[in-house]
Amino acid sequence: MNDNDSLMAAAFEVAGIGVCFIGEDSTFLRVNPAFCRMLGYEQDELIGRPWHMAAPPDVAAEHGRFLGAVLKNSPKIPREWRIRRSDGSFLTALVSARAMDVGGGRRCAVVTFSNIDDRLRAEEEVRRLNHDLEQRIEERTRELTERLAQLESADNALRRSEERYRLVVDNVSIGIFVVRDAHFVFMNPRALDIIGYTAEEMDGAEFLHIVHPDERAVVMDRHIRRQRGEYVDPHYELQVMRKNGEVVWVALDAVLIQWDGRPATLSFAADITSRKAAEAALRSSEEQHRRVVENVSEGIIIVQDGVLCYANPSTCRISGYEAAELCASPFLTFVVEEDRAKVMDRYQRRLDGDTTAGDHYEFRIRRKDGEIIWLVISGVVIEWGGRPATLSFITDITERKAQDEALAKSEERYRHVVDNVSVGIIVVRDGRFAFINPQALAITGYTMETMIGSEFLPLVHPEDRAQVIDRHLRRQRGEQVESRYEFRVLHKDGSVVWVDLAAVAISWDGQPATLSFISDITRRKAVEDVVRRSEAHYRSVIDGAPVGIVIVRGNRICLANPAMLDMAGFTEQEMLALPSFLTCVDESDRAFMAETARGYVDQRSGDHMVLTFRVRRKTGELLWVEGSTVQVEWEGKQATLSFIHDITQQRRLEESLQQSLGERETILETSVVGIAFLNADGRVHWANKAMRELFGVMDVEITGRSLEAYYPSREEYLRVGAAVSVAVRAGRAFESELRMRRGDGSLFWANLSGKAVNSSDLSRGTIWTVLDVTQRRQAEEDTRRALAQQRELNELKSRFVSMTSHEFRTPLATILSSAELLRYYGDRLPVDEKTEVIGSIESAVKRMTLMLDGVLMIGRADAGKLEFQPGSVEPVALVRAVVEEAARAAASDGSGLKRLDFSSASTEDSGMLDEKLLRHIVGNLVGNAFKYSAEGTPVVVSLQCEAGEMRLSVADAGIGIPYEDQARLFETFHRASNVGNIQGTGLGLAIVKRAVDLHGGRISVESAAGIGTRFDVTLPLVVPKETKES
C-alpha cells in the first residue's frame, strides 16, 4: 500500500459521505462507516450481502439497471435515490458511481451516497413558508385549478377518482376497452357484453381474436399506420365475432392514451348491428331498384335542357356509347339530321305539358360505330333536381323496321307477281268480283272499272252456269268439291273462251271469298280436239303447243311434245325409253299418281282428270305442274293424253303470299300496343292480343263487329267517328285521349290513334292503336284536385284577413277616438257627452267581442268541439224575443225601418233545443233579413211547431243572393258578390249551418238577386238518441 493508497483508505474510513464497493455478483464488497451509519447497519451485516437489501422494492429494478450500466463503464450522472434503512425507514441520497478494476479481470462499482434528506427537509420548510405566505393567492388559484381539473380529459378525471371511474365505466352503455401491444388490458362490462365473453376469458386475450376474419387485414393496417404516426380516422366500423359465433357490427372511436406509462389505444364501442341490418335492407331495396333500371332491356334516359342527365346500361348498349359520352353532348347530336326537327318538337311539346305529344314515336340515331338504328321512345315529364326533365324509355326497333321493310318488299314482290303472272287471278265475294288482275281481264276483254263489283255469273257461258252454281252451293254447304274445273267464259266481243279454274276458299276483308287462278285454255281445248281427230295432221300444232303434251299407253310413253321434253329435261329418245311416265314424277307424288291414274283408266270415263304434282327434271330440279288427262284411243288401243302446265311460278306466289301474311300477323300479334284493323264499314277485321286483353274480350267477340260497344256512349262513338273521318280523308292520323269501355263495362282512359291503311283508297279500311293511359290520367287528376284544395284554403285565408282587417279597424277607430277625446278634452266635455263617449267604447268592444265569439264558435265547430246542450225551450216565446231584439238593433243602426211580420202556429209548447244555438240561428237569419233589405220593405218571419218539428221561415224582399253564390253560402268568411259595402263578417250563415247541423235539422234557401231571399229551417223538437249521447 503506497502513500496515496493509505490516504485513500483513511479518507474512505473517515469520509462524511457513504461509500460502498459493489461487485459484479451484486453484493457489497466494502462499505465505509459513513455508509453503515447512513443505513443503520454494522459493517459485517452488509459485506457479502446483496446490495438491493438497501433498495425499496419498487425502485430495485431501476437501481439494478443503473449499476449494470455503471459496470459496463457507461458514464452516469448523479441522481437521487431512495434508500431503505435497517429500521425500515427511508432516506433520500444523492448517488454517483463509477466502475473500477479490482484485479483478476474483475470489476466493481464504487458508489458514493450523500444524505440529502436534511437539505430536502430544508427545502420543504422553505416551500411550506412560501406556501403559507402565498396561501391567500393560492387559495384562489387552487379553486380555479380545481375547476379546470374537473374539466380536464376523461383520462385525467378517471385517474383522479377511482370511485367515479368505476361507476361510470361499469355502467356506461358504451363498450370501453383498452388495447396495448395488440392485447386487451381492460374491458368494461358493456364491452364484454357486446362480445359475449367473461372478463376472465378476455384477460390478456389478443384483440385480433375477436375481429371478424374479413376485417383483420383492415384493422392491422390501421394499427400499423397509427404506429407510424399517420393520421387515422378515429371513427370506424367493423364486425366482431361473439363467443357464440354470432357476428356483431360495432362502431369504434379510438384514441391513443398512455396505460401504465406505455402507449395503448382506448376505444369506445357501440353495437350497431341492428342499424347495419336496416342499412343493408335499405341498400338491398335500392340495389333491387337500381338493378331493375340497370338491367331492364329497354333504354332509360333522362333529358334536361336538351342534355342527357342519365342513361342506363341498355341505352349504352343500344347506342354503343359510354354513359359519360352520352351525357357530354346535347341529346340531338345523336339523332340523325332528318329526324332532329321531329324529336325537338316532341321534346318541347312534352315539356310544355302538351299531352297530345303522344306517348310513342320513332326516330333514328347514329350509333358510335356509325350504324343508323331506329328507336321508339315513350316519355313522361318528371322533376329532376327540382326542375322539369323528361324521363323516356327507348327501344331499338331497327329489326322490326327491317321486318316492316321486308314485308313491304314482299308485298311489292307479290303485287309484281300478281300483276305480271301469266295466269289470271280473281277473287269473288258474294258472287261479285272483289279483285281481278290484268291477265284475268285480258281473258274477258273488259276493263278493270267495269269488272270490280260486277257479278261473276253473267260472264259464265249459259250452258256452264248450272255447273258453276252447283259447285258453288256444294262448296258453301261444306262438301268436298273438286277445286279445279273448266268452263266457258263469254268474252266481251261475244267469243267463247275456255278457262281452267282452280279455286281456294279464303277470307277477304274478313268475309269468305273464293280466290281463283284462271288460265285461258281455249287453245288447249282446241289442241285437244285436234288431237282427238287427227294426230298426224296436227303434229305441228302439238309440237308448237306451249303446254307439255304426253301420250301414255300402258306404262309406255308413246309421244312427248317439245314443251314436255323441255319441262322434263330429256331428249325425245330418252323420254320414250323411260319405263314409265312416273319416272319423271317426284318420288313423293308417285304413289298417289299411280293410284289416281289406275282408277281413272278403269272408269273409262270421257271426263278430264286434273292432277297437280311435281315433275323431277333430269337435272334434279323440281317443277310444280298441273296435268289434265283424258282417255284417248291411240293406234287402236286405250291410251291417255295429258296436257302438262308448268305452275311452279303460281305455286311460289301462293306460298309467298301465305308467308307474308304469317309474318305480318306474328309481328302485330306480339306488339304490346293494342292494334286493330277496321274495314271501311267500321267493323273489326283483325285485333291483336294486346287489343283483346285491353278490352278483356275474346277474338270472336271483337272480330267482325263494330267498336261502338267499347265507347262510353253512342254519341261519343259518333263524335269520334266524325272526327276520324275528317282526319282520315285529309290524309292525317287521328289521335285523341278518351274514356273507353272494357268488355266488363268498366271504363278506362285510352290513347286512341287511327290512320287510313291507304289514304288515297279509304276502302282499304283503317288501322288503330290503343294504349291504356288511365294511370297517367289519374295522376294528373289527383294533382289538379290537390291544387284546387290549396287554392280554396288560400282563398279562405285571404277572405279572413280582409274581413278582420276591416271589421276590427272600424270599432278600433271608435275606441281610439273616444279614448283620446276623454284624455285630451275630458275637462271640457259635458257629463252627458262623456257618458255617451264611454258608451261608444263599450259598444265597440261588444261588437269586437261578438265577432271574436263568432270566429271562436266556428273554430270550435270545425274542430268538433262545439257542444250541443239541449234543454227544455219554449220555441215561440224565444223566437219572438230574438226577432224583436234583432228588429230593435236594426232600427238603431240607422239602416232604416222595415215592416216586420211575425206569425206563429203551435201545437207543441216546448221541445228539447239548445237555446244558445237557437238564438244564433234566429238572430243571424232575421238580422240578415233586416240588413240586406231596403227601408220600408217587409220582413216576414213565421214559426210552426207541430208533429215533433219546429219549422222557421225568414223571408225578405232585399238584395237577394246571386245564384252562383248560393252553393258557397254556408262557407266560412264567404260573402255574396252583391253585398257591396254592407258590413258583415261572412260568419253568420256559417254559424247558422253548424247550429242547425248540431240539432240534426235541415236548412234550405230560395233566393234571386234583386228580388229577395227566404230561408227555411226545420229542427226536430225531440232530440235524436245518437245526438243526445254525443
Binding site: 280582409s802 282587417s805 276591416h806 271589421e807 279597424r809 272600424t810 270599432p811 278600433l812 277607430a813 271608435t814 275606441i815 281610439l816 277616438s817 273616444s818 283620446e820 277625446l821 285630451y824 278634452y825 271640457r828 266635455l829 257627452e833 255617451e836 263617449v837 261608444s840 259598444s843 265597440a844 243602426d893 240607422g894 239602416s895 257591396g980 259595402n981 254592407i982
Partner: protein, 131 residues
C-alpha cells in the same frame, strides 16, 4: 281662438260612433262640423253649402267614398274642397285609386286625433294660401 269665420267641415261616415266622435273632436277644436250618414246625404249637403274640408269614409252602403269624391270633383262649387279619406281599408290599391280621383289625404282607421288635427290644419292653411 279661431278666425272670425269658423271653418266648416263635413263628416261623411255610415258608422255613427266614429262620425259622432269626429264631430265632437272638431267642435272642441273650434271647427263647425256637419254630419252625413251616407254618401247621397253627403253629396247633397256639400253641394247645398260647400264646406271648407270634407272627411269621408270609403266603404259605405250605396254610394261609397270614391263615388262621393268623383261627384264632388266634377262640380265647380266643390272641385277645390280639400278631401280626406278616413277608411278601415288597409288596401294600398284603394289609396292609389283615391289619390287618382283627387283625394288630398288618406287616413286609415284607427287614427290619432292629434294627427287628424294636424292634417286638417295644414290642408285648410294650404287652401287659404291658394285663394
Amino acid at each position: 281662438m279661431m278666425s272670425a269665420k269658423q271653418a266648416r267641415i263635413l263628416v261623411i261616415d255610415d258608422e255613427a260612433a266614429v262620425r259622432e266622435n269626429v264631430s265632437r273632436f272638431l267642435r272642441l277644436e273650434g271647427y263647425l262640423p256637419m254630419e252625413a250618414a251616407h254618401g247621397t246625404q253627403g253629396i247633397e249637403m256639400a253641394l247645398r253649402t260647400p264646406p271648407d274640408l270634407i272627411l269621408c269614409d270609403l266603404m259605405m252602403p250605396g254610394i261609397d267614398g270614391f263615388g262621393v269624391l268623383a261627384r264632388l270633383r266634377a262640380e265647380p262649387a266643390t272641385a277645390g274642397v280639400p278631401f280626406v279619406f278616413l277608411t278601415a281599408s288597409a288596401d294600398v290599391e284603394d289609396a292609389r285609386v283615391g289619390f287618382l280621383l283627387g283625394a288630398n289625404e288618406y287616413v286609415t282607421k284607427p287614427f290619432n286625433l292629434a294627427v287628424l288635427a294636424g292634417i286638417i290644419e295644414q290642408r285648410l292653411k294650404a287652401a287659404r294660401g291658394q285663394v
